[in-house]
């Protein structure tokens, strides 16, 4: 038996359940059990997706979204890691910022759009900053925890062997927090995608969120589903990409996570 078929034997449910769902949907729509006007067949959606790709519509909407995610994620990551590390290291800073974060964090990010629009130039910048808000909090929280969960005995041993000041930070505290930081980045990237689509629905002409909403409003339901598929695929690629990066950069944390 080959390795591949061995994998399939072990994971056949993972492959079978979405396949059954799609085939069932296809049949239900074909037989009129589902109204095709609202639930078009998967094969039809696929055809529309091909057309959106071929005529350049998808690219015209996907590129602005990717650009916004990239900027927002970079902003959230840099600030989130900086704040998180500082809060992990200094108890007083943590104690003064914790209540503020606790109040602001659960507010749905989209609600920051009007506020942000007053503070920064309208348009792109406001979209990017709004997209970054929730990701920033997630990354800051996990980074803080990452610093705090480092075994104090390991820190004591490192000090004993001469790691002080900057050296203690770069050789012990930062690498010790990295697995948590990566978890924060992965969550933050996922939320950036969620929020950017929401923000684009409200306030953008171009973007996957805008395409989704426009398709719905003019009842191009097939295009709406096609956009769904693209957004879902984008989320999966980003998430697994970051997981693969983590596996490459943190080989020492990988086996622990898998166990």
């Amino acid at each position: 038996m080959s390795r591949r078929s061995g994998w399939l034997a072990g994971h056949w449910l993972t492959v079978a359940s979405p396949a059954v769902l799609l085939i069932g949907w296809e049949l239900a729509a074909a037989t009129g059990l589902l109204r095709e006007a609202f639930f078009p067949r998967p094969s039809t959606v696929l055809a529309h997706l091909r057309r959106l790709i071929a005529d350049g519509t998808l690219l015209a909407h996907a590129l602005p979204t990717l650009g916004r995610i990239a900027w927002a994620f970079a902003l959230a990551a840099v600030l989130g890691i900086a704040f998180g590390l500082a809060m992990g290291l200094w108890r007083r800073l943590r104690e003064s910022l914790d209540p503020v974060f606790a109040v602001v964090y659960p507010i749905p990010s989209i609600l920051f759009l009007p506020l942000v629009s007053f503070l920064v130039p309208r348009g792109e910048t406001a979209l990017i900053v709004t997209t970054a808000v929730t990701s920033f909090f997630l990354i800051a929280f996990t980074t803080t925890e990452g610093v705090r969960q480092i075994d104090p005995l390991v820190v004591e041993a490192a000090r004993h062997y001469g790691a002080r000041g900057r050296r203690l930070f770069t050789a012990v505290l930062l690498p010790g927090a990295l697995p948590f930081i990566f978890t924060g980045l992965r969550l933050g990237l996922g939320f950036a995608l969620i929020v950017v689509v929401a923000v684009e629905i409200v306030n953008a002409t171009y973007g996957l969120g805008a395409l989704l909403w426009l398709s719905w409003q003019v009842l191009k339901v097939e295009d709406m589903y096609a956009t769904f598929v693209v957004i879902a695929a984008l989320g999966a690629v980003l998430s697994y990409g970051l997981a693969a990066l983590r596996a490459r950069l943190l080989p020492w944390a990988q086996d622990v996570a898998e166990r």
Partner: protein, 259 residues
């Protein structure tokens, strides 16, 4: 005299009460000697070791360590839970102290490899700590301490967490390494059998406050192996120290229950 501990007292506040962990302890260790500290829980064995290591500051009294080779640290500690840096390979863990002191890469890695050979881990230089067994981790801990070529090697119940067979192997290994390098060792343990197998002298400590109760020379010859357990002198000495230790343990348990 290699190590002189003079009238050292360690007191700290706990729940608003002043607790005396060490009460005017004095101890002398000659160069090349292997001294074992034994006593009930709460007798301050580990506290004394941490004061000698400079990890904890005494309230009063003085610790002097005679330095013969300038540039090398006075002490290096082998921690109970190994306390290796999980994100560093075995080689980088062993070289950590030298790296912190600014020793060039080629030089520190050569030294680390030498120490890994000494503890029998040459093949595992590129492994991460989580890929090693408990006994192997503690070998790395010993190699890390020895790589610094300290004046005094401090060991805080290094084999307490290992299973009985591994512990026995590690004790024999430690005796071999000690005979090779001729280091001065201060070794904390719960186990009288271990202390008699390893030590030149056994220092019996009392609990609450921690004091030196009695010092027993171990005149069982060298080199020593597990076969000494069959000798009459061993049995007599074990019985003699145990009758003392027993009193201390019972008294410490009474303190825990009462008061």
């Amino acid at each position: 005299m290699k190590v002189e501990v003079d009238d050292v007292t360690v007191a700290f506040e706990s729940h608003g009460r002043s607790v005396v962990a060490l009460d005017r302890i004095s101890l002398r260790v000659v160069a090349g000697e292997f001294v074992c500290l034994v006593g009930p829980s709460g007798s301050g064995k580990s506290t004394l070791l941490r004061v000698v290591a400079g990890l904890l500051r005494q309230t009063s009294g003085a610790v002097r360590i005679q330095a013969e080779r300038p540039g090398t640290p006075a002490t290096a500690m082998v921690f109970q839970e190994h306390a290796l840096l999980p994100w560093r390979t075995v080689l980088a863990n062993v070289a950590f102290g030298l790296e912190n002191r600014g020793v060039a890469r080629a030089q520190r890695e050569a030294r680390a490899r030498e120490m890994l050979a000494l503890v029998g881990l040459t093949r595992f230089a590129r492994h991460y700590p989580h890929q090693l067994s408990g006994g192997m981790k503690q070998r790395v801990g010993i190699a890390r301490a020895l790589a610094n070529d300290p004046e005094v090697l401090l060991m805080d119940e290094p084999f307490a967490a290992l299973d009985a067979q591994t512990r026995t192997i590690m004790q024999e290994e430690l005796l071999r390494i000690w005979a090779t390098l001729g280091k001065t060792v201060i070794y904390v343990t719960h186990s009288l059998e271990e202390a008699l197998l390893l030590g030149d002298r056994v220092v019996l400590m009392t609990a609450r406050p921690g004091r030196v109760s009695q010092v027993f020379p171990v005149e069982l010859g060298r080199p020593r192996g597990l076969e000494i357990r069959a000798s009459q002198a061993y049995g007599v000495l074990l019985e003699k120290i145990w009758s003392q230790l027993r009193e201390e343990v019972v008294r410490a348990m009474g303190d825990d229950r009462g008061a």
